[in-house]
Symmetry: C2
């Protein structure tokens, strides 16, 4: 058995482990059956992941005497809808899974968000395991218990805080991940460096080619990312404080995603975050918190790995200032009508800025668009 890194997420009686290593899909039956007394398992996945990996997971679970109920959803952000939530939950019920049975999210961020939400409401909460297969899901969305769907009113405005009981991160699954999706996940990895770990950002600057070549440096970078996220989540599970730091780049990024109508051909989440993080650094500079050299350093690294770094990199029409501001105001990081941003005073030195005047955001955006 190859090396497995174990990272505990400490949340009182909802604590759980993240296991990181190669071949964990094949070991899923053993890892789950040694921890849970389960008869039936709903495996929620999308068409793409099902083609590549479902047979292996199914075999692993069935070998450990679990009944497997596959629930396959269309790939893409559009599946994070009320309609698909109802479909998935009703399939879980129709397959007669009981409260002690298990729901597995097997795929990327969309699958994790939808399946986790479904697990939280089916029979008022069923045990839930994440087996993330995209880099984005492995370093970000599978850890921390945020689940949810999108509505016309905005992204992720409906959902639950619902912790998995185990996360299995099989880094071997990343060998089939397309480059564009790998890059999108990489943006979230870089984010942990930018938030509070300048050493990690430096590590990525030096080693990103090896990380992209998916050597052991990748496993190590994933572990560092998961550790960072687990620490933040343990401090502030429900985002009443510190956890907001994880939104570095996300207020701008979400607005850009909303602007393109969540059209992944034009912009995927990690790309929005990449542009958003550069904008957050530029805005920090605009607000006199950060020197220009560090803005350039962040921009240069994200550009080197092939990520978009400015609004003009988005294909097709460009948003105007008012449109972007409108989307930002609808984002959930609005408390009593004032805007909250994650700003920074240097690489690894981000902070939460409440009460940022809308007028400052507006005049900054005019310099950007």
């Amino acid at each position: 058995m190859a090396d497995i890194i174990t990272i505990p997420v400490c949340l009182d009686n909802r604590s759980y482990d993240i296991l990181i290593g190669k071949g964990l899909i094949e070991q899923a039956g053993i890892q789950i059956s040694t921890r849970f007394n389960v008869r039936s398992v709903a495996v929620i996945t999308d068409e793409n992941v099902a083609k590549l990996h479902l047979a292996a997971l199914r075999h692993a679970l069935e070998t450990s005497n679990m009944r497997v109920v596959p629930i396959i959803i269309p790939a893409g952000e559009k599946s994070k809808s009320f309609e698909m939530l109802e479909t998935v939950v009703r399939q879980i019920l129709a397959a007669k899974l009981e409260r002690g049975d298990l729901v597995i999210a097997f795929g990327g961020g969309v699958v994790g968000d939808l399946a986790g939400f479904a697990a939280s409401i089916a029979r008022r909460g069923m045990p839930f395991v994440q087996i993330p297969t995209s880099l984005l899901a492995q370093v970000d969305s599978s850890v921390g218990g945020k689940t949810g769907i999108n509505t016309f009113e905005g992204k992720n405005l409906v959902g639950a805080f619902y912790q998995p009981q185990l996360v299995l991160v099989d880094t071997k699954a990343l060998s089939t991940l397309p480059l564009r999706e790998f890059r999108a996940g990489y943006a979230e990895m870089a984010k942990y460096g930018l938030i509070e770990n300048s050493d990690f950002f430096e590590f990525l600057e030096k080693n990103w080619r090896e990380v992209f070549a998916r050597t052991d440096k990748l496993d190590s970078a994933i572990a560092t990312s998961c550790r960072a996220k687990a620490a933040v989540v343990a401090r502030d599970e429900h985002e009443s404080g510190d956890r907001a730091l994880l939104n570095l780049g996300h207020t701008f990024g979400h607005a850009l995603e909303a602007f393109v109508g969540y059209d992944s051909a034009r912009l995927v989440h990690g790309e929005g975050v990449s542009i958003g993080m550069v904008m957050a650094h530029k805005f920090s500079n605009y607000m006199n918190h950060l020197g220009h050299a560090e803005v350039l350093r962040v921009e240069a690294h994200l550009h080197d790995v092939g990520l978009p770094t400015k609004i003009s990199h988005i294909k097709g029409s460009k948003p105007d200032v008012e449109t972007l501001l409108g989307f930002m105001a609808q984002d959930k990081k609005v408390i009593n009508g004032k805007m909250t941003f994650i700003l920074t005073t240097g690489i690894g030195r981000s902070f939460i800025a409440k009460d940022v005047p809308t007028s400052a955001v507006e005049s900054f955006l005019k310099t950007e668009i």
Copy 2:
């Protein structure tokens, strides 16, 4: 100010108070504004309650400087649907309520279950207050944090455990409650006596006429009921043990409700529970746990107050044994394929019986139908 009874529900950092008294709707603005820092309030209610009481609640909240967003749903069990959940949640978001704002459930059990579920998933959880206006909601569904909706697969199979932060029980609101609904709530009150408080059952036998006349004896009976429920919920929030006792009469009752297709013209929940409780006592007798005299005593009291006590009291077609068994097997109190029942050895001496053989249930039902 009239006497207010305060009952604490002890659940660590999710503890809250139930206030019981006359005129609490008119005091809602003060009671809420002294406890919460809230700007906007979504009041979820149904058409019937809106006609009778919405103006008074709205006035009370607006006088305390809250913006009121009324969300009015059709009355009746059919509103506990995915469709209505989506409608309500999206109205909360469209009205731009923020994470610190408040959702109020203002009505009976249907409103409480739907509104509580909506509050739990809107922005991944908003603060939530229950103002129950039916007797059923006041003594049962508004306390304990069970929220949910129905699907084709069954009743309350989708939802969340989500605690309110305050429950305001205005017993004056019961003056407009129709007799049939009052009786349905009374069945749940009687249940607390049958579960573990024979003194309370005796109190009801002696004083039910005054309770129905809505004297102060009613306030006292409601308080006893809420105290009983709060104690059970504090012991076992997520129904992994003891809380299942609250399901006395419910396995049979739910099956009967499912059989009539949740048609309230034929059977409302409390009526199903009344018949179900009598059946649970008969079944306890059938299983040699309980003497026949006590079955008769329970049946006599529920009959005296005007509640249905046997399947033949349901209007229209009657279920056959197989149909009822099928609905009971789909009920969520099935663990590893075995049936769990709440049985009793005497009034106030109920217990959880796991592993009840389906064959025993079947042969018992043949004596009933």
